[in-house]
């Protein structure tokens, strides 16, 4: 087939390619350890991944990282920013495959899962060396902890409040609702399908469990176990009380009589879009929508109110958040911690909170005038009335919480469509959490 010279030539070419591949493969795996003869100091490369990505937030984080690198010339940071929808999956896959990764954005939703699989490093031993740790709020620490151990430093906190169309309410002569019952009644009153106007920006798609869970918790407020808020003081789940049935009936009424029928599928985007485009009057959301509302709606047409309360005049509120943690397999933990303390410093964190619309993690920052007025004021007002707005920690420690959103969404949709009854749905939810507790204590 081939002449001898040709064959020899090709064989040597093949060998050359293989040798080249092998040497480059070896040298690249040595990259981090090889002393750099060019500079005096060893340059450490930190690989960092974020989860709650959005173009504007990524730009803010990148600017902070650049500042950090200018101050620390021996540390180089590579930021990975996957699209938001796939980010958590990407992080999970990278962790499972032990790919090089030093700093990662851990979320309240997945911290238990990461701790369970031993992916993240506890930070308690590191915090002693950080002078700003003293002003980190208790809520921020609580969000980031699993069983007394701190696993990340939040980069911002999220807390829900009620956004409403001030102009519509004034026109209809309705006051801003204080209780859930008032909210539902106002929603029904404002609904006029012929005009394509509805009361409530309902969310039946991804993230649907937020409203029914807090509604039921508000109705259970006198019986609830604040430290384990999916359960009552008597040990049963929050879905096992008679109040839960009343609350869920109200929730179904809110959808059927006061919300767009289409909203059974809606997620975050549609829910916010319906409010900004003048389809709905009420929206329960985190402060990160403040910027969107400010950009898309006329001033004076919208305002904020505290979370609605239950029949006993109390509401259960919780803060959520995400933040920076260190992977347990990182080889540059000290440098990673240095980066985290820089990003979490009062200056950097307050700046991110202002630009991105989150609650800052340092108590010193709330004195800033920016957070004393407008839509942020309601959040502070809620914090200042701890007897009415009872703070609880969401069930992030339960591995079962990871799947709860999907389970609640699907069974909730079946209930709203009338395929299953309110009672059967409560039974199902009750069983899910009873099992979650049993699995946890195994």
């Amino acid at each position: 087939m081939f002449g001898k010279p040709m064959k020899t030539w090709m064989l040597s070419a093949l060998t050359a390619v293989m040798v080249f591949t092998l040497t480059t493969a070896c040298s690249s795996s040595n990259d981090g350890k090889k002393p750099d003869s060019g500079s005096k100091e060893k340059v450490i490369t930190l690989r960092m991944i974020e989860s709650l990505t959005s173009p504007s937030r990524t730009a803010l984080i990148k600017a902070s990282i650049d500042k950090f690198m200018a101050q620390n010339t021996n540390i180089k940071v590579e930021l990975i920013s996957p699209p938001f929808d796939q980010a958590d999956n990407k992080i999970r896959t990278m962790l499972a495959a032990k790919q090089p990764l030093d700093v990662l954005e851990v979320r309240d939703l997945n911290v238990a899962e990461f701790v369970n699989n031993n992916y993240v490093e506890p930070l308690n031993d590191y915090t002693g060396s950080w002078s700003d740790f003293g002003t980190v709020t208790a809520v921020a620490k609580s969000v980031a902890s699993v069983k007394d151990k701190l696993y990340f430093i939040p980069n911002g906190l999220y807390q829900r409040q009620l956004f409403y169309r001030a102009d519509w309410l004034k026109e209809a002569g309705i006051n801003a609702p204080v209780t859930y019952e008032e909210l539902v009644n106002a929603s029904v009153k404002l609904t006029d399908a012929a005009k394509n106007r509805y009361g409530f920006s309902f969310r039946g798609g991804p993230g649907a469990n937020g409203v029914p869970d807090t509604l039921i918790q508000a109705y259970d407020a006198d019986k609830i176990n604040v430290d384990d808020a999916m359960f009552l003081k008597d040990g049963g789940t929050i879905y096992s009380s008679p109040e839960a049935k009343t609350a869920l009936d109200l929730y179904v009424k809110l959808y059927k009589e006061g919300s767009p029928p289409d909203s059974i599928n809606w997620g975050f985007q549609e829910q916010v879009q319906a409010f900004t485009s003048g389809v709905t009057a009420f929206l329960l959301q985190d402060p990160d929508v403040i910027q969107v509302l400010g950009e898309n709606m006329q001033e004076g047409t919208w305002a904020t109110a505290p979370m609605p309360t239950g029949p006993s005049g109390k509401a259960m509120i919780s803060a959520g958040g995400a933040g920076w943690g260190i992977t347990s397999h990182s080889e540059n933990k000290e440098a990673a911690w240095k980066l985290i303390t820089f990003l979490s410093s009062p200056e950097e964190n307050t700046q991110l909170s202002k630009s991105h619309g989150t609650v800052p993690i340092h108590s010193s920052a709330t004195e800033d005038e920016f957070f004393q007025k407008g839509p942020y004021k309601t959040l502070l007002d809620m914090t200042n009335k701890p007897d009415t707005f009872i703070n609880f920690k969401p069930p992030f420690e339960y591995p079962a919480n990871g799947q709860w959103g999907t389970v609640a969404m699907e069974s909730g949709q079946a209930m709203l469509l009338g395929q299953t009854s309110v009672e059967d749905t409560l039974t199902k939810w009750n069983e899910y959490w009873a099992k979650a507790k049993a699995d946890m204590n195994k």
Partner: protein, 296 residues
């Protein structure tokens, strides 16, 4: 003799890189997937990975959602394929004869094929939106409806709506493939038919159709498999909702991974899908007499 053996060794050596790549990136993941189908493999708890026999399959076949996804898959493939093919064929027949602006028109028709399925899902999701969507708005303006339809939220409408989006997506494929086949029909066959006094229907049945039949068989076979396997449009449009009424097998598989982290169950669904596809292909090739396939 020695030369021959040397040559063989050389050929094998040359093939080795390709074979190794194929093994690593195609066969290993495939086999791993089959193994996972028999494991309890949930990402939330990797400390508890173990073999559980056919348990994943048993759970799947007892799950109403899985059974619903099976029937939905059948509807999804049958209606999507039928309408994509019929409309694609009509367009190809229209585009066969040259007319002014044909190139531009062709460009518009083939455009959908250049978009990603996920993106198409997102676009149609806003179009179908009952409060803010353009479809409801148009229907109301024309006066066809007086109350808005929840295309994606009403279980009676949801499956038809995702199929409509999928039909729109796939028409271009048939139009492109069938137009190419039509253009290769020799002109003298039509001349001969003209001399025999055949009308246009007769010409289509006796000349055009037999000539493009191999292409039709090959494209419909391929397309059915793609439609069956492709969850992107459903993922973007409804994500299987409301209440799981629009899941097909592939979107349900994706759902198990993304929202449940349950790789074992997802793999079991994947293996079931492979089984269905093998049966389908054997049946299809048998019915359509396979020797005609291939030369398109």
């Amino acid at each position: 003799m020695i030369a021959l053996r040397k040559q063989r060794t050389y050929i094998l050596l040359s093939l080795l890189p390709a074979l190794v790549l194929l093994l690593i990136f195609t066969f290993y993941p495939f086999l791993q997937g089959v193994v996972m189908a028999f494991q309890n493999y949930v990402l939330f708890d990797l400390t508890n990975v173990r073999f559980i026999g056919f348990q994943n399959f048993v759970t799947a076949f007892q799950d109403a959602k899985f059974l619903k996804a099976m029937t939905n898959s059948a509807y999804w493939v049958f209606f999507s394929l039928t309408f994509q093919f019929l409309i694609g064929l009509s367009l190809a027949l229209i585009l066969r004869k040259p007319f002014k602006g044909r190139g531009v028109y062709q460009g518009f028709i083939f455009y959908s094929w250049a978009l990603s399925g996920f993106l198409i899902g997102l676009i149609w999701k806003w179009m179908f939106n009952s409060q803010m969507g353009v479809i409801n708005d148009l229907l109301m303006r024309i006066g066809l409806i007086d109350t808005r339809i929840g295309f994606l939220s009403d279980p009676d409408w949801a499956m038809s709506s995702v199929i409509i989006a999928n039909v729109w997506y796939g028409i271009a494929f048939f139009a492109i493939m069938l137009l190419a086949a039509l253009q290769s029909v020799p002109a003298d066959l039509y001349e001969a038919a003209d001399m025999d006094g055949a009308g246009s229907i007769r010409k289509f049945v006796n000349v055009t159709f037999p000539f493009i039949l191999p292409t039709i068989i090959a494209t419909t076979l391929l397309r059915a498999i793609w439609i069956f396997n492709d969850p992107t449009i459903i993922y973007g449009l409804t994500n299987g909702g409301p209440a799981g009424t629009t899941h097909i097998l592939s979107s349900l598989m994706l759902d198990k991974i993304i929202y449940g982290g349950d790789y074992g169950m997802a793999s079991a669904i994947g293996v079931t899908m492979i089984g269905i596809l093998i049966l389908y292909t054997i049946f299809y090739l048998f019915v359509t007499k396979s020797e005609k396939v291939g030369d398109f």
